[in-house]
Symmetry: D2
Subunit: 303 residues, 4 copies
């Protein structure tokens, strides 16, 4: 398989799709991006890197950060987090309050916003600075010391993030936050506002395809923990389209409203695609199409 | 009908019920009160006042304040508020977020917390200080210039009010607040934390039994507006027990978690009962029993 | 007050509204009626009858029948029915399954379809034939021995009534039916398919304005039972528009998708309006407008 | 890896767990089975068969049948079924009506009861007899011509199946059934009431581990269709515990309330476990534990 040629073909065929999506408009920092960007990068478990399109351009990683904060909490704290957050698909749009209320403050999974707030809260307790912990992990794993927050996006999140504030106060009302609401929100927004390229994200997530082995060869997560993060990505990683993603792409994946998606072929590689035009389910339209084509052409579905 | 004797009989017969209820425990300022207090006052439309039990003791009026802020907004602004809040029973517990989400930020009615936050927000815009406006109305109407906030309760509300903060941020996320979230919350808590006696509340609400005529003889609300506030009280005034209250008591009424209930016999009188022990639905247990007995004995149900 | 002239004025002013509504289309037997009919009748507690428009034309009473089956069950069985059905407003559209599921088979009130199926089930147990019991009550009270089922509508209900079948089976799954599902459905459809005129319904419901005294002077229901039926009508009688109805009309009322509404002025009269064009909430559009005008002009709101 | 020894070890270690579960009690035909049975069988893609415990005892396959009816519909009809049923996790208990109502008659996925009724309905249209079609497929694929319905269970389903009747009528009310409700229910119950052993089910499902190749070497399903059934099993196959199953077991799997679970290791084998004691989520308690241990010991998770 000539991966480089394949990525270039995919970049050519899916770019027209990108224009059909809608760029996220809930914060000004995201809505100013044009829909028709497209980039893709594959980072293999044994160290090769392939890219096509705008694969070195930076974008807002948004909810993709949730994979890394979860990894840090599992690495630091083992399975304790599962007493404060479930790991079931939500079956409702990604930031719904309904479930949180009917299940008394235990979020359905760590990849919906409520769940990620709980994970961030725990990471603050473990490290003192959750935003810095995620940023430093991504710097180390991607090998790019310049990974940083986009201050415009971070300010937008804080200013317009009433919905996340609502979730955080609701979690606090159920006693499911250890730290002050404002601190948790600030550090949550800091993670979401990290700017990275497809290259940096594909390389930075590579431990997920290598049984938890970090860039420096150390065991960041156990093999079992890594499989389990991948399992949660598959069942919960793409908002209310997890079934669709599993059906069409057949890989664990985590998307963000900035238009990025990171997917994992266990034992083989990680893939990061980026295109800001979103489908109704909040996932990158061209990104989904690219991953669909990638697994169809390579046969690298996990099923 | 000898009202004074009737009230004394009721006070005697329902006091034992009081001990069976649970005092509200969601804020420290409320939970320190003993359950077995009981007071009742009747203020007739033509100026007589009767009371029994602890009818001159002060308690936290909590959600009963919502009747008065709604009155002020209708008086100042006419029917405009109904574009921002519905007037249907909620069918779910009193501070549920579910409905607010499924109906895109329009609260079901002005007497659930979300709706009262919207009313408070409007009252801030109309008067500059919603807390002071409600307090001053109650001073004027009750004739007691000492009506004031209990600072301990107000501080408790602010510290422990995560659920109301959650609601306010959710309203803001739907664009249904005109003023900053923190200002709306502060003035909402100020209203809820007013301390009053059964006497002051029964007298203070007398305009509801007099087609809107205020204590000074002026027309505070039109006859039609007054009837409509009474209608909203009947269908929405007692959380998820509005049907039960209509069935057993048969009067428009508004309760608060401080244990007070104000009820209206149109054209005839207002009644205020207080007993801090609450039923599961959040209404005063002995208060409901007292009103039930009152309407059974007087035949003054509206049905 | 010259009631006759008033009714004629109302008939003139609201008829144009009728055309704006939508005729119920869920069964063929109802959808063939034109929207722009209008009739109104007032039957006073002391025996006078006034009418205007098509007040002697027959229409399908549909859910209005639920008031009479509830009355028969309360008369025959006292308060026992309240162990099998709540009396709270539903807060959701009139035939929702959601509530029934979350509250484990206890319908929210006797006027939503699920609740009426439970009431019908009990009436079958009490009388052997619930359809005949309701029909005979209405013949007796209206003085019209020809009150009968429209066989076309009854057949339509049975053929297209999948939603009611779904509700009945769900009730059975929770053990909240005493009789076979098919029997309950058949007799429920029989009540709904009764054909009556405004005159017959206004006269037939007169016991609700007379503290339960029947046409023959006997006490069909106690005064307390009558007040309580009126209370349930006010809080639950007009589907998801009970708050709106209380606010605008200010009377206990029960509507049907055939376009009829029966309202009660306790101690004074009953009113029946009919116009088949419905609002989104399933209530007669011109009927609501006529009742609104009636209570505004007469001042006969209960508030 | 000595699979035979592994299965025997697992059978020994998990049997004590079995007693902790609750046998399904919603129909008499199921509730008479003792909880502490346990059997396990592995059928490899290249034809080997291993078993331990009561792996040749027959049990009621219940919802496991849904995998086979879905396979037959996809084989006969391609992707058309996805216009009538979604393929997203439900996020609510397995037979909830809530989702069906809020999404207007389109079931969330083909493995909840509502979705399986739609699949059965389509299979009736395609074959004339859905029950026979599933039975014959399982006879062919398992090589056991005696696979048949347990008549006691089938009769129980029909008699006590009010909840499925409720679902079927609700689907019909939305126009999402092509055949009469009673026919669809009868053939749905017929599939659920099939009796099979772990051996027959593991062998009978082997096409799922062989890219769709049937027992006779023909291509029953395309490779892509097979992957997609596996994907739907992973995200939706174990009721409200799909996330938990993916996390702990890491394989596509489908469970039934009879206590069976079929899991697939793509390219390698199928596994069937049986133990009638269920967890709260309706999945076999010892079965889950056995599969957890199996994938932990073999490392054969797909993640």
């Amino acid at each position: 398989m000539d991966i480089q040629s394949l990525l270039e073909e995919i970049a050519g065929s899916v770019r027209p799709v990108a224009a059909a999506g809608e760029v996220a408009d809930y914060i000004p920092g995201l809505s100013s991006v044009s829909a028709d960007h497209f980039g893709i990068c594959v980072a293999t478990a044994d160290g090769e890197i392939y890219g096509a399109g705008e694969w070195t351009s930076k974008f807002s990683i948004q909810s993709i950060s949730k994979v890394f904060s979860l990894g840090l909490v599992l690495a630091g704290d083992g399975d304790r987090i599962w007493q404060r957050v479930f790991r079931e698909p939500s079956g409702t749009p990604f930031n719904s309050l309904v479930q949180l209320e009917s299940e008394e403050g235990i979020p359905r999974n760590p990849f919906i916003n409520a769940g990620a707030l709980v994970v961030t809260d725990r990471l603050i307790t473990l490290t003192g600075d959750a935003g810095a912990a995620v940023r430093d992990l991504l710097r180390r794993e991607s090998g790019n010391p310049d990974v940083a927050v986009d201050p415009l996006v971070a300010a937008s999140e804080a200013e317009y993030g009433h919905r996340n504030s609502s979730l955080a106060h609701l979690l606090a009302s159920y006693g499911n936050l250890e730290n002050p609401v404002d601190l948790v929100l600030e550090q949550y927004f800091d993670q979401c506002a990290l700017e990275m390229s497809c290259r940096d994200l594909a390389v930075g997530a590579r431990f997920l395809s290598r049984n938890g082995v970090a860039a420096d060869g150390s065991q960041f997560l156990s093999s079992s923990q890594t499989k389990r993060i991948n399992a949660v990505m598959l069942t919960c990683g793409t908002y209310d389209a997890a079934g669709e993603f599993a059906y069409r792409v057949g890989l664990p994946g985590k998307s963000g409203v900035g238009g990025g998606i990171v997917a994992v072929v266990p034992g083989r590689c990680t893939i990061c695609v980026w295109s800001p035009g979103l489908s109704k389910s909040g996932n990158s339209l061209a990104g989904m199409a690219a991953l669909d084509e990638f697994t169809t052409r390579t046969g690298w579905s996990i099923f």
